[in-house]
């Protein structure tokens, strides 16, 4: 399929004209709703107010959502916001694209190289390997202040279970200037971010550790970060599909740039649940449709899932996990894509008790469905200085325990529901973001080690997981 996307791109100049508002209100959403209804895909809750099947167990329903999402991509297409034309694909083109998805991905390089492949549902590879079944990602997202920037980064680099990183902490202020998009200062800030991150990796003895930073910056600033002693060939860049099946020239330029650079690229299935794609069921179809559209339009080498609640920003809520898990399950069952970077990417609460439970909920579901683990960032990724390596470690440990237990999806589903029981109420009452600690409140800033109070909570949650979930986590 390589190179084929150029044929699709040409359609931004020739496809049917549709204004963005018309696309959203009269095309995209009605089609999404109809398709979801046609395939009978629903979100259902038990009497406890939690989803009855947050980890997909029913293979027939997984097949249904897969067909629904493919059909939706074909019928809806992708809107180009610049030309206000829709790129349509045929069913055969989508099927071809799914057949030709990358089968493995290698990130990092030299001694920090890491390769992973496809894993199916309940497919844990070699048992008791002492290793997480597949790819553990650490993620720093949100603003990080200059005084702790390197320390937060080092807290992840020091975690041996972390296979790859997303160093996405934005430098918001530099040399007396607040950074603004498209300014020369933005370029300077990206140069500084890359040099800081690389310096931390070198000092941590992992000079070529993969950085998949998805910086919310202009392409020109991203390009500036690649020059000189900039990013490594083993790093990756985000090629964006705008939420809800849209693209534009800028995103296409990013994709072209990183493809010609020979860089690894990644994309994420999204859905702002409760907004444009509606509730959880339609959002799940949308999220999966975005993964399919990504591989058809850009062919990134790796995929992730990042649905969030739009009413109270959460990537670990009952709705978010439902959406992410169904999209992952269908993509893994029907393609040979390397393990998707699974949910949750950032927790709703700050670093603490609920943060660990949110991390566990994401990791249990993801790993049982063949995805990798993610973790580290808290406070809805909006709070300042709320990321720590211990979260990524914990996610990887949960993933390893799931693999070693050879967990069936039904068991995983029960466990995730129990995990949700620990924190969903704080998402419902919109107080989760106030719980827990910031990095500087729970790490020793000299040694970059978790303080005793954090270690106690970390161990407490593990103990409760053993007792209440029956998951043997060390």
């Amino acid at each position: 399929m390589k190179g084929k996307f150029l044929d699709f791109w040409r359609r931004v100049e020739t496809g049917p004209i549709m204004f963005e508002k018309e696309y959203m209100t009269r095309h995209y959403y009605p089609l999404l709703k109809q398709t979801c209804e046609k395939y009978g895909f629903k979100y259902e809750e038990g009497t406890n107010g939690l989803p009855s099947e947050v980890v997909p167990c029913n293979n027939e329903t997984i097949d249904n959502i897969w067909e629904a999402a493919k059909e939706f991509v074909v019928k809806c297409g992708v809107l180009c916001q610049n030309t206000e034309r829709v790129i349509y694909f045929t069913e055969d083109e989508v099927n071809d694209a799914m057949y030709h998805v990358p089968k493995k991905v290698t990130v990092g390089s030299h001694t920090d190289e890491y390769t992973w492949k496809h894993r199916g549902l309940e497919d844990y590879g070699v048992r008791n390997s002492g290793k997480n079944p597949n790819v553990a990602m650490g993620r720093i997202l949100g603003p990080i202040t200059d005084d702790v920037y390197e320390k937060v980064g080092m807290s992840f680099v020091k975690e041996p279970m972390v296979d790859m990183m997303h160093f996405q902490g934005v430098i918001a202020h530099l040399d007396g200037v607040d950074i603004k998009p498209f300014s020369p200062f933005e370029m300077m800030s990206e140069m500084k971010r890359v040099s800081k991150v690389k310096d931390v990796c070198r000092r941590g003895g992992r000079p070529y550790l993969h950085d998949g930073a998805s910086m919310p910056i202009s392409l020109q600033a991203e390009m500036m970060g690649t020059y000189g002693p900039g990013i490594n060939p083993g790093d990756a860049h985000h090629v964006y599909l705008q939420p809800h099946l849209k693209t534009n020239y800028d995103e296409m330029c990013r994709a072209l740039m990183w493809h010609q650079f020979g860089s690894q690229t990644w994309g994420i299935g999204m859905a702002y649940i409760g907004s444009i794609p509606g509730a959880a069921a339609t959002s799940a179809v949308n999220c999966l449709a975005e993964l399919i559209a990504y591989e058809t339009l850009y062919q990134p080498t790796m995929l992730g899932v990042w649905p969030t609640d739009a009413l109270y920003f959460s990537n670990s809520s009952k709705y978010s996990l439902f959406v992410a898990n169904w999209a992952v399950a269908a993509m893994h069952k029907h393609t040979k894509i390397p393990s998707i970077l699974g949910a949750a990417w950032q927790m709703t609460s700050r670093i603490g008790y609920e943060y660990f439970w949110e991390t566990a909920a994401g990791a249990i579901g993801s790993v049982s469905l063949g995805a990798g683990t993610s973790g580290g960032t808290g406070e809805q990724s909006g709070g300042t200085n709320c990321a720590a390596g211990i979260g990524a470690r914990f996610a990887a440990e949960v993933g390893r325990a799931v693999g070693e237990a050879d967990l069936k999806r039904e068991e995983a589903n029960e466990m995730v529901i129990k995990c949700l029981g620990k924190y969903q109420k704080f998402i419902n009452d919109r107080t989760a973001h106030k719980m827990g600690w910031l990095f500087q409140e729970c790490y020793d800033l000299d040694t970059i080690e978790p303080l005793d109070k954090l270690n106690k909570v970390y161990k407490k949650v593990k103990g409760e997981m053993r007792k209440e979930l029956g998951l043997r986590i060390d």
Binding site: M24, S189, L311, Y312
Partner: protein, 217 residues
């Protein structure tokens, strides 16, 4: 000819089914039938409020609300005409202009805020994304806004919110408008630092803050 209750029920039904054309037609019918514009606006307000509650429960999606809102906006032409003729006055919750600041093309959070404000009775104009401070001011002047809302979804676009506040002060308009800022990385501390009047953590809080700023809470 249908009576007032039937026409009101028809308007409610058109709004609840997001029938943009039907909403405008139903409003026109009520105005043509000589039903007080105040009463028509009350039906609209009560039904949009009902949809807003469904939206909060995710039983209605944002694109559906947009259709309903557009229908109401189109219908307002008939209401304004009727008001002119009768000399009646309707109490408005307030006029809000809202956009995502220059350099930032994120739109979902902005759209959410607008839906919450609209269903609570505010007259909301969406300026879109990547909006320069100058455009915020020009549109606020043109539309007679009460509140200027500026969203920033990236920490690198937050300084443009500060630019907006600076521009408004430089033009001597600080007393004329309430300025609200919001977006994922935007905090109350930032809002205070740049001199904004209000901040909403998310769409729900933005609505509360807008009502508070205009003394409608």
């Amino acid at each position: 000819m249908a009576n007032k209750d039937e026409l009101s029920d028809n308007l409610r039904e058109k709004i609840k089914t997001f029938d943009e054309d039907g909403i405008e037609a139903a409003i026109k019918e009520m105005c043509d039938a000589g039903i007080s514009a105040v009463e028509t606006v009350a039906v609209i307000g009560e039904t949009m409020n009902y949809l807003g509650k469904l939206f909060e429960k995710m039983e209605v999606a944002l694109p559906e609300l947009v259709l309903a809102g557009d229908g109401v906006k189109r219908g307002m032409v008939h209401i304004e005409k009727a008001l002119e003729e009768t000399g009646e006055e309707i109490e408005k919750m307030g006029t809000v202009i809202h956009g995502t600041v220059q350099g930032d093309i994120h739109s979902v959070g902005k759209d959410m805020v607008e839906m919450f404000l609209m269903t609570s009775g505010f007259d909301v104009t969406d300026l879109g994304t990547d909006v320069a401070p100058r455009v915020f001011i020009e549109e606020a002047e043109r539309l007679g806004a009460d509140i200027i809302c500026a969203s920033a979804l990236m920490s690198t676009s937050m300084p443009v919110q500060r630019d907006l506040v600076d521009f408004i002060e430089a033009k001597g308009l600080a007393d004329k408008y309430k300025i609200m800022v919001g977006g994922g990385p935007v905090t109350m501390a930032w809002a205070e630092r740049i001199g904004a009047d209000g901040w909403g953590k998310d769409a729900v809080e933005a609505r509360t803050m807008a009502m508070k700023l205009l003394g409608k809470d």
